[in-house]
Symmetry: C2
Subunit: 298 residues, 2 copies
């Protein structure tokens, strides 16, 4: 089968064997925001040469701005509920293929419209399969970080933080952008300084101005500014969400995402004496395979 | 004399009579960021027909990205210190004119590089003149809000919040931008809802995602989304900075800025049972006049 993790800014295509192992994969920047109405053509391109009939898709490709809008499955949701929510779709441009869209997950937490995610439910299902019974906390950083609590194989709560998006907005636009070097390496000291400052008084809107004042008075080397900002923002996220996460005492936080981001989050948790376990972004493929098998497709 | 309040995004020119009253004024979007190296030409255009020799300038025109970089006067700073810090400059393109640049103010608060402001020191000096002795709190909203404590006519502390900048970034760029109607009126109910949510758990990075979930599930009318976001952000600013501000019990907060912004901040303070007094943006002209008189120019 073919597993597709199609988010707002990237497309990841995996070809899996019968055991669910990745035998080939491709990645491109053709995220949902970029492809507009050319989904079928972009997908055909991404899977060229792979002749498997069944294609499972997760991520914002199933969102309002995606290919077709899938409903959300209500938490608590495990692999049974998510597999039952698969929607089969045939695209004329892709003869002989069966597209299966994975539903998102929604958590009615009692506050306003609650919480939602698309794509991360599949990662959480993969983690649930790896980790087995008990309570586990997944932190899935990205444009929007998703904190997902898993109890005995089911997703029971979701919390979102728009940390990655705010980091990009501040880095690329606005008054701090001109202070930021192009692509500095992660600076662990500057990150730790920002992380420490995130717990001082005054709040996030106040704290980020310190990027500017330190630049004005040369109090922070230019190469450290981006990591300082990252430490501030991730510090605010982690300090606010960890106490609400239900992480069992002494248990590790399970991180999945791109390696550079995981390095930053691992440092943040480590500064709070919380252990982390790192998982590859490819767990999406494992999650899609498990969902397919549950439905009797793979 | 002529008073110039020249910030990053706007230029305000005032012609004053000997008593300091505004007899003519002009405003344009030729902020410091837009004019680059054409300061003299843009200023000449702004004061066409006004033949007064002395021109006082405050704001980021005296900053690193401005016409010339002025030092900062250290707090505590009153009108004497600021007038003493005026820098006279002659521009060949403006024969017969004396340009006087107002220094910024810096507050070494013991944290990192401390705090700075440019332009708001002049508004604070104007307020100090209006309010007289005692302790007063000024909240000067804008791209960056400045909270300024004034004691017996001197600026003693500064705190910055990048609220306005973040509001613009979220409104114009990123994943919430497409949800925002163009120019809705202030929606007091939606603002109050955002303000209330700013004190729930989870932190700012988490809270702003509720703009998206409420849009997804039609839990907030489209016209209210911008005011909801404004209430969230201003709520975070005010709740974090008010307790640190040293506002005397029962005293009002003095607000100066554009009327739409003052309306929002006044609502926020009112929701915390704090009174406000509103001052026009034009107090910059009064401050520049007072500084000129102190120096013996006007």
């Amino acid at each position: 089968m073919i597993a597709i993790d199609w988010g707002t800014t990237s497309l990841r295509c995996y070809r899996l064997d019968a055991a669910g192992d990745v035998i080939d994969w491709r990645r491109s920047g053709d995220g949902v925001l970029a492809v507009r109405d050319r989904h079928a053509a972009v997908l055909a391109d991404g899977i060229t040469g792979w002749d498997d009939a069944d294609i499972l898709l997760c991520g914002s490709v199933g969102g309002r701005a995606g290919w077709l809008e899938m409903p959300y499955v209500a938490c608590p949701a495990g692999i049974a509920e998510i597999a039952a929510g698969l929607h089969r779709h045939e695209a004329p441009e892709l003869p002989g293929r069966h597209l299966w869209f994975v539903p998102g997950a929604a958590h009615a937490n009692g506050h306003r419209a609650g919480e939602v995610m698309r794509g991360e439910e599949t990662q959480a299902i993969a983690l649930a399969g790896i980790l087995g019974s008990g309570t586990h906390l997944a932190c899935l950083p990205g444009t929007h970080s998703k904190w997902v609590r898993i109890e005995d194989g089911r997703i029971v709560s979701i919390s979102t933080a728009m940390t990655g998006e705010l980091f990009e907005l501040l880095r690329r636009h606005g008054s701090l952008a001109s202070l930021m070097p192009d692509d500095p390496a992660h600076d662990a000291d500057a990150f730790a300084r920002g992380f420490a400052d995130s717990q001082t008084h005054g709040g996030l809107l106040h704290h980020i101005f310190a990027v500017r004042t330190q630049a004005l008075f040369d109090a922070l080397p230019a190469e450290g500014r981006l990591s300082y900002l990252s430490g501030l923002l991730i510090g605010h996220e982690v300090r606010a969400l960890l106490p609400l996460s239900g992480l069992p005492r002494g248990a590790p936080v399970h991180l999945a995402g791109n390696p550079a981001l995981l390095e930053a989050y691992a440092q943040a948790f480590s500064l709070l004496d919380v252990d982390t376990r790192h998982h590859s972004e490819r767990i999406s493929a494992a999650g899609l395979h498990a969902i397919a098998r549950q439905r009797g497709i793979a």
